[in-house]
């Protein structure tokens, strides 16, 4: 049977980089095809070619056997190709209905928007998809998960035959992922198909029929999702075998308590949150989206105001009014959104690493000692194995994993004993994730104390000595290594106020 979408021998080069060479891809009718590859493998380029943002140097595309040529997003949509981009592409100030209909507003007399019909049609679509959305709400007021639903409704409203999803679950928790997968299954019928790009390996067996692996801009293999072990897919991706098995370790409750938080509350969400963190410990913080994990971290470092509670370090109560105070006491917060809050993307690696400790370490009589900055940054680049040609490289040119390491280097240089990681591997590919895990392990072994917030349960279970579970702004459980399993964590994460202890 003719495939729904076929990509044959496609190449695309940019000055200095061959992003894709001789790429192949075949999407069959009614299937979910996962496309996996490390960051920089060429997935984004492929998607941009499919949607007409770029034009291919060589090769061709065919849909249902007919040649497919698209110039620009509009033609792609018209041809039945809908893409949901990794970064949200919504207009936060417009309503759900206005976002869904953007570019195809029902009109009267040519230029006037028929708002009533627009709302009605959007409501019908949302109903048909079974999404719990009020189409008159402003998108900016919705939760991340609801915004993702709007993206999907928008993509499907185009009568799409091929739906391309780039990391659709990066910001979703497990329950929301299940809803999304359910939607995808309902979308895939005899004349449609889904291309699903993901970093989450455990999703592949859950949603995909087949998996196409690409590496360094080239096609590697396509395997059956149900029968191929995840290990093998990862090995294909990175070109080597990686151990992703959990390695339980001993709880070290004999170590001294470094950080203790007592009764922390905020106006909006947190209620009486307490925990202790020991030297050399990795404390995982689990919970559903909106449980208050990030809010807890922000409250601890003084980024948000607290209404009650004490933060102690080595038994001494601290006054933390802002993140600078926290840093001065040796508490570093590595934001989930490192591009926005963690890095100066346009600055070089050395500047980023030294940024937090310029005044403390690298300044003589008000002048910055550039040579010392470069030397020290160079040491850390080596120690953390940051892949960069030099410390003078602009940070935005590094991969996600290496950018994360730059942020870590910055906090290490700032003499932080407590590091709070918020989603440390979000948007980072599998190979680099392993390196971040290894780095966190080493930091803990060296006596740093680590709080790790993550939406990925396997990550939490693999890394943590203890797991603190949150729900609705409260701590519902602190689980030891032995007690923490997918089931127990989910049990406490879904516990409502009444059951909270």
């Amino acid at each position: 049977m003719t495939p729904l979408l076929q990509v044959t021998g496609v190449s695309k080069g940019f000055p200095g980089v061959q992003a894709l060479k001789d790429m192949h891809l075949e999407l069959r009718h009614g299937e979910v095809l996962a496309v996996v590859g490390e960051n920089g493998a060429g997935k984004s380029t492929l998607m941009k070619l499919l949607t007409g943002v770029y034009t291919a140097d060589e090769g061709h595309f065919a849909m249902n056997g007919r040649p497919l040529v698209v110039n620009g997003p509009k033609e792609a949509l018209a041809a039945g190709l809908s893409i949901i981009h990794q970064e949200f592409n919504l207009m936060p100030h417009l309503t759900v209905a206005q976002n869904i209909a953007i570019g195809r507003e029902p009109r009267f007399r040519g230029v006037f928007v028929d708002e009533r019909r627009l709302n009605r049609e959007a409501a019908e679509l949302v109903d048909r998809l079974g999404l719990p959305l009020d189409v008159r709400r402003r998108v900016g007021d919705l939760t991340v998960a609801a915004q993702q639903m709007v993206e999907i409704a928008k993509a499907l409203s185009h009568d799409a035959k091929v739906l391309i999803m780039d990391e659709p679950t990066a910001a979703l928790n497990d329950a929301e992922v299940r809803v999304l997968h359910d939607l995808i299954r309902r979308f895939t019928t005899a004349d449609t198909g889904v291309i699903y790009i993901s970093h989450r390996m455990e999703e592949l067996t859950a949603i995909a029929d087949r998996v196409t692996v690409i590496r360094d801009g080239a096609y590697v293999a396509t395997v059956d999702a149900a029968t191929t072990p995840v290990q093998q897919v990862i090995a294909l991706m990175v070109g080597r075998a990686i151990d992703t098995g959990a390695t339980p370790r001993n709880v070290r409750d004999d170590r001294e308590v470094v950080l203790s938080v007592e009764g922390l509350s905020t106006k909006e969400l947190l209620r009486d949150v307490s925990f202790e963190l020991r030297r050399g410990e990795v404390l995982g913080i689990a919970g559903l989206m909106g449980a208050g994990r990030t809010e807890l971290a922000r409250a601890v470092v003084g980024a948000d105001r607290t209404t009650a509670g004490v933060v102690r370090m080595a038994g001494r109560a601290l006054t933390i009014r802002n993140p600078a105070d926290a840093a001065a006491h040796g508490i570093g917060y590595l934001s989930e959104d490192r591009k926005r809050y963690g890095l100066l993307l346009e600055q070089d690696v050395g500047q980023n690493i030294a940024l937090g400790s310029l005044a403390k370490r690298f300044t003589r009589f008000g002048f910055v000692d550039g040579q010392a900055v470069r030397a020290k940054a160079g040491d850390l680049v080596g120690a953390l194995r940051i892949k960069t040609p030099s410390v003078a490289q602009t940070t935005k040119n590094l991969s996600g994993g290496n950018q994360q390491k730059v942020v870590i280097a910055k906090w290490l240089l700032n003499d932080c004993d407590v590091l709070i990681f918020d989603e440390p591997t979000r948007g980072i590919d599998v190979g680099a994730k392993e390196e971040i895990y290894g780095l966190i392990d080493r930091l803990a072994a060296d006596g740093k104390s680590i709080v790790m917030i993550s939406s990925e349960l396997p990550e939490i279970l693999r890394m943590s000595h203890r797991v603190l579970v949150m729900s609705q702004g409260r701590v519902t459980a602190v689980l030891d290594r032995g007690e923490a399993t997918q089931e127990t964590v989910m049990h406490y994460a879904t516990m409502t106020k009444a059951g909270a202890r």
Partner: protein, 330 residues
């Protein structure tokens, strides 16, 4: 529970609440205007009279017209600094068309307005096609327009003495006791409100300001619509040029600088975000009225003109800060 929480509460009729919330900013601005009017009414008995209210409306015409066009630009995430001197250039061109070339009013006036559209079109091309940041592109146009106004007029005012009807566009009274300029302002308000709220142009203005890349990826020709937005602002520049020269009976080539900041101030006081994506015509109108009411009231109270800008500056800070508190950004 804050307003935002209430919106996020799915059990509530969110459409109605959202509408109420977006009205709140306008209500606040309107309330501020009423407070200012109330204050001056109590402070000076000559303030709240029919004649003075018309005075205030009359003095709002130029700033208001400029602010209307600028509202579109700012909602789309841009800025237009060329509106002040652009207006002067259009006033000069009106003088060229009517006085120097002797064109009839019915041709010369539309030509002057269209010339403003041309200024806006160039801004739009620079911003959308050459991708020059709006601040820079329109700063350059501000200088070019100022220079051209002086060059074309040989640095001398152009009078409309041969067209006595020209001044009637501004001070004539089709409706008794109401200067035509006020009617023109009302018409401009109406047109811009309809454009912004009910047309594709309005929808895409908000959309581009809210998330430009997403708008482009939705298959919308962002370049084209940006050009349209700046051109529209240009037409308002042209209209303002006609109105100011009609009021003065002459085109004064050395003026115009500073109007752009007053117009932007009116837009901002009206709750339009300089970051783009949100704003309203009603807000802009109230913002412009607040500015002219303050100027008028302070004048009536014989407060030196120098102090008016001090007050205006403080009002801008208070208005924007109040808006931030309302939205919980502080």
């Amino acid at each position: 529970m804050t307003a935002v929480d209430a919106i996020a509460e799915p059990t509530r009729p969110a459409g109605w609440l959202a509408a109420a919330r977006s009205r709140l900013q306008q209500l606040l601005a309107f309330a501020s205007l009423m407070v200012i009017v109330g204050f001056f009414s109590v402070a000076n008995q000559n303030f709240f009279t029919y004649g003075n209210i018309i005075n205030i409306l009359f003095s709002t015409v130029v700033i208001g017209t400029l602010a209307l066009g600028t509202t579109f630009v700012i909602i789309s995430g841009g800025i237009d600094l060329s509106i002040g001197t652009g207006m002067t250039l259009c006033a000069v061109m009106s003088g060229v068309f009517l006085t120097n070339w002797g064109l009839p009013l019915a041709v010369g006036i539309p030509a002057a307005i269209l010339f403003g559209g041309l200024v806006g079109l160039v801004n739009g091309l620079n911003v959308a096609v050459l991708k020059i940041p709006p601040f820079i592109a329109t700063l350059a146009m501000m200088l070019v327009a100022q220079g051209l106004a002086l060059v074309i007029s040989h640095s001398a005012p152009i009078y409309f003495t041969e067209n006595p009807n020209y001044v009637n566009i501004s001070i004539g009274q089709l409706v008794p006791q109401v200067p035509n300029a006020v009617l023109v302002l009302f018409a401009a308000i109406l047109v811009s409100a309809v454009l912004l709220n009910t047309t594709l142009l309005g929808r895409y203005t908000y959309s581009i300001g809210s998330n430009e890349e997403a708008t482009a990826l939705s298959g919308i020709d962002v370049r084209r619509w940006k050009i349209v937005v700046y051109t529209l602002a240009g037409l308002f520049i042209g209209l303002a040029g006609v109105m100011i020269s009609a009021r003065l009976g002459s085109a004064q080539p050395a003026t115009g600088m500073g109007y752009e900041l007053q117009a932007i101030a009116a837009v901002v006081i009206g709750g339009t975000s300089l970051a783009g994506g949100k704003g309203s015509i009603v807000g802009t109108v109230i913002g412009a009225l607040i500015i002219s009411t303050l100027n008028n009231g302070l004048q009536i109270m014989s407060i030196p003109q120098e102090w008016q800008n001090v007050v205006l500056g403080v009002v801008i800070l208070v208005a924007v800060y109040a808006d931030m508190i309302r939205k919980g950004e502080r």
